[in-house]
């Protein structure tokens, strides 16, 4: 899933309104963790996918 201007606006509206309250903030975090990490075959990890020398030899999947 990629971010788009509309998605970003909706996301900000949520975070700046309901997201102010810890309950809704936690709910959003739980949802994002499930969507981007737990339910994904390839989990999102911010500190990953840096270049390595082995990338020069690896075949693209």
């Amino acid at each position: 899933m990629y971010m788009s201007p509309i998605k970003l606006i909706l996301f900000r509206v949520y975070t700046l309104t309901l997201g102010r309250f810890p309950f809704f903030s936690k709910l959003l975090k739980k949802h994002l963790t499930k969507q981007l990490i737990e339910n994904k075959k390839e989990r999102y990890v911010a500190s990953s996918k840096f270049f390595e020398l082995k990338d020069l030899e690896a075949k693209l999947k």
């Binding site: 996301f11 900000r12 903030s25 990490i37 500190s47 990953s48 840096f50």
Partner: protein
């Protein structure tokens, strides 16, 4: 260990360039260029403020080619960095990394560890009430799926105890350490989403080693030894490793804990760094080069201090 110093020092001009160094600016001290300079983001990522610790280390430690040692400008920028970090705090004591009102456990734990360590190292005088509020938030929150964040919050709480002298933070740190030891797998790894991850294992080991050096907790030492041993045999002779089966697919090694615990992995890592074969701060993006550069400096200095005291 010279290679850690060389690589880290090479990153300092880059990291200083991230910072708003204009004292008249509203964002003086901010390290998030996407926010203060490009103005592409509508909030500043608290994670960037971990650079406070990088500045504190270069300001306080004399070592070859460190032109920032006891430099007044460096100290001003350090103070500005910590003050800006405190400004980013949410009402309840947490910090945001990705979006407003996020209350990120990761950003709160790591940025608090870095900034409190900087405060202690440079003996900065700041409002302890504001720091205590962060401590209360960390005490009341956990993320047991991720050992590295738990370890960062434990050392952050220990530092808050050292700053505020309030026992409740020391007790909260001890509690988190107990939980981490309980979570550790029999084979030695600290779980990350239920499995092992080598990069995060070394981050956890680094955080826990900092905690151990401040408390001399013997139970933790046993756990650290087990955690270090887990890595033996998993790292190739050039310091790289196969991350295809790891839970978070990281590619780096944070050396500080491994240097203090005298892991054989460090020798392999140095070989790889000397041949420019290992992911290191120069290969990383702006956000993550700060974290790893600081760890390289800590690794270099811990080894240097051991040699100087012998």
């Amino acid at each position: 260990m010279e290679i850690f110093r060389q690589i880290a020092l090479g990153q300092i001009p880059r990291i200083l360039g991230f910072q708003d160094r204009n004292p008249k600016s509203r964002t003086y001290g901010c390290f998030d260029r996407f926010y203060w300079h490009y103005k592409l983001h509508d909030m500043s990522n608290a994670g960037f403020q971990e650079a406070s610790l990088t500045l504190a280390i270069i300001y306080k430690n004399s070592f070859p080619e460190n032109i920032y040692y006891k430099n007044n400008k460096t100290k001003d920028w350090l103070k500005a960095a910590v003050k800006f970090w405190l400004k980013l705090r949410n009402f309840g004591g947490s910090f945001n990394e990705v979006y407003p009102y996020e209350r990120s456990y990761c950003a709160t734990s790591f940025s608090t560890y870095a900034n409190t360590e900087a405060i202690l190292l440079a003996k900065l005088k700041l409002d302890t009430k504001r720091i205590a509020k962060i401590g209360k938030w960390l005490t009341n929150n956990n993320n047991p799926s991720l050992s590295n964040q738990m370890a960062a919050s434990a050392i952050a709480l220990q530092n808050i105890y050292l700053i505020t002298k309030k026992d409740l933070f020391k007790e909260a740190a001890e509690q988190k350490i107990k939980e981490i030891i309980k979570m550790q797998d029999q084979s030695g790894y600290y779980p990350e989403y239920g499995g092992f991850d080598i990069g995060y294992q070394t981050i956890t080991l680094s955080c826990l080693t900092h905690y151990y050096l401040k408390t001399k907790d013997t139970e933790l030492y046993k756990s650290l030894k087990k955690g270090t041993k887990f890595l033996d045999g998993k790292i190739k002779s050039n310091g790289t490793y196969d991350n295809s089966k790891t839970s978070r697919k990281t590619q780096y090694i944070f050396p500080f804990g491994l240097v203090v615990l005298k892991s054989p992995v460090i020798g392999k890592m140095i070989t790889g760094l000397e041949n420019n074969e290992v992911v290191n701060p120069t290969w990383m993006d702006d956000r993550y080069c700060i974290h790893l550069t600081t760890n390289y400096l800590q690794a270099y200095l811990s080894d240097k201090n051991v040699h100087e005291s012998n």
